[in-house]
Symmetry: C2
């Protein structure tokens, strides 16, 4: 089926880009001698996880118990639930364990450790370590770390090791800073593991990861596995961080032009924030891409065109002056000759400085009914707005893979 035959809006995944991204991470981590445990929260799609397994992935990482259940039902037995578990979720986790799932859970407090240890059979458990002040976890040098370890081990839970996620890597954008954070993530997590071992506690697992640090790490001594998720699809935030280019982004939203505001230089498409998500992760990066960069149906970027605003089912596309035109091959040559229209990214943000030249340009470039593909800010958020991925090679739809949502 040709891509143009799909109803819009819908989520499209470029198979070749997907496979390239999967191979890149697998190869990188193999060279560093650590296992890859992909985080499936980005794609929530069994066929993609199977591709990751075929490339050597060892187990999966999930962000919800529903993901654990869905992937276990699909034949994945080694699953790490990498969000601290609250006591009320333990019966559901144990039910999975009793069905044969090798489920590992996570805690970052003595209270939660006691709750995990209070159950029946040992439930394999990691302790979350905070290496960058980003979110959850205990500091590697916190007295509480040993108390948690003891509560798990002596209480009968299966203390398995330590885990961290250097989520602050998303805020970086230079290789030097990324390499430094990757080393910080490694070193602090290993430090926590060493403390547990020095206290006589078992710690076979040292699990680290985020896509930016995983791809930036030069050595991972002491680490046993790396978790990464968004690398499978990539997105404009990752391009802003610098670990991919826009042309590596495998996920796009296919949309149709439904109208124009000629005097403002806008083309209106049927992909609003419901299809793109409200994620504006690029807004805090050096180059703000609005709600996404615009490509033609073949996946070639249309230089200068961005989704500058979004309502629920409306996206507003306009030409925007891109300070980093050089980062976007072709942008300099093909940029519209008129002054750029408003770069306002807020919904309904007013555009200004339009000219007849620009207005004519947008109508000429994107006539009514034109199909475009929009590269998203954040693959995890955009993918979550869709129930399936349409897999394309070129502009041929080769397959449709379901994904799931919910908890």
């Amino acid at each position: 089926m040709p891509l143009a035959a799909l109803p819009t809006p819908c989520a499209v995944v470029d198979i070749d880009r997907l496979d390239h991204n999967l191979a890149r991470m697998a190869t990188h981590l193999q060279a560093l001698g650590v296992a890859l445990r992909p985080h499936v929260k980005t794609h929530k799609c069994v066929p993609i996880a199977r591709r990751q397994r075929a490339l050597g992935a060892q187990g999966l990482t999930v962000s919800t118990l529903k993901e654990a259940e869905q992937f276990f039902d699909a034949g994945f037995e080694d699953i790490l639930y990498a969000v601290c578990i609250s006591p009320d979720k333990l019966p559901r986790a144990r039910a999975l364990q009793q069905r044969g799932c090798r489920l590992t859970v996570l805690v970052d407090s003595v209270e939660a450790a006691v709750a995990v240890a209070a159950g029946g059979a040992p439930l394999p458990t990691l302790v979350e370590i905070d290496v960058d002040g980003h979110r959850s976890g205990v500091a590697p040098d916190a007295p509480e770390l040993l108390a948690i370890g003891r509560a798990l081990h002596e209480g009968g839970a299966g203390l398995r090791g330590v885990l961290t996620h250097a989520g602050s890597s998303y805020e970086l954008h230079t290789p030097v800073a990324l390499q430094a954070l990757a080393e910080q993530e490694r070193a602090r997590c290993v430090q926590a593991a060493d403390r547990l071992r020095a206290a006589g506690l078992p710690c076979p697992v040292v699990s680290v990861g985020s896509t930016p640090t995983a791809l930036s790490a030069r050595q991972l001594d002491g680490v046993t596995e790396v978790r990464a998720g968004v690398y499978a699809l990539f997105d404009l935030v990752m391009a802003g961080v610098g670990v991919c280019t826009p042309d590596d982004v495998a996920l796009s939203v296919l949309a149709t032009v439904i109208g124009h505001q000629r005097d403002k230089g806008w083309a209106v498409v049927d992909a609003g924030w419901m299809a793109l998500s409200r994620d504006r992760g690029n807004a805090s990066q050096a180059h703000d891409r609005g709600y996404g960069l615009v490509c033609d149906i073949d996946g070639r970027r249309l230089p200068g065109l961005q989704v500058i605003g979004a309502n629920q089912e409306h996206g507003l596309i306009a030409a925007v002056a891109e300070a980093d035109g050089g980062d976007l091959p072709g942008a300099v040559d093909a940029a519209p000759a008129g002054p750029a229209v408003g770069a306002g990214s807020a919904p309904g943000g007013a555009a200004s400085g339009s000219t007849d030249r620009v207005a004519a340009d947008i109508v000429y470039r994107l006539p009514l009914g034109t199909r475009v593909r929009i590269l998203p800010n954040h693959a995890c958020a955009t993918a979550a707005q869709h129930a399936a991925y349409h897999l394309v090679q070129g502009t041929r739809v080769q397959d449709t893979w379901p994904r799931f949502g919910g908890w």
Copy 2:
């Protein structure tokens, strides 16, 4: 079932607030002598639409053809698809019409009008009018308006009238400004209708609406119907606009405390942006509520507590100094005595200025396992992250109503 027994995160709707909100709009528009055609894009839930119909609603408004199909299948026959239709969607629209749906579509260009008129049986069509430069539509005094009307009427499409949506009302926050925009919306849409009629074209329908202008209108002479959607559930953006209070918000996300960062004064909950949505509509309003205001399981607001940051499955709750404490009953008396912790709303935004007093406070107020309810920024976006609403009265779950997504 008690609310505390539900797995988290999940979407909760307070029945009494819902019914109050539905009755308020119905009563207001009945007093103004115009029909209400509720927009179901907010809730996408058949039982809520039935409640709206029971209160006198005449037909429904939808934002996608899937909504039209779903509500038609549920027994709603008079449906307005209020997003400009692209030519490729016409076969799907006509299929609905042929099944007996009284479907009305929308255009804002001659090109689209010609495409609608080119089909078989007349397809009832409205022309979108732009009354506030917000998004789509033709200006009420544009020459193109008559050309579109003629293309529809003479081409054999069923020209039925004009439609507008004063979406810029979301950017206002005073009754005076809202009343002025409501009158502008009315007057300009009626002006467009008068021009069509003066040109000998039929225009029985004059459809206006947005929740803020609908509730602010003092008179709607010449208008035949009002569309509004978010009023059913309301949200913090609408509270910021001033057309409801936080205590009118019927939608909340039930979440569980899964950990703490004591030194930062954070409680971590299992509702991140996947459950809350990435919508930060409050960020541009006078009072930024982060990713939402926090209530206890009974729905009573916990003064000063906001979701200050969100990752995919993590929400960060902290006490925030609220400049408008007076708008939040109880906030002044019950605010934490220590300095407020960081009001940063960006994911991973660092908090500062924490004290032992504040840290102790958050752990004391929200111990591990505590259930909280989070009032969302934007009901349309938050509801879209969930497959069902749990209907509660007090803290008893009375029913579960499915909702749908997708296109």
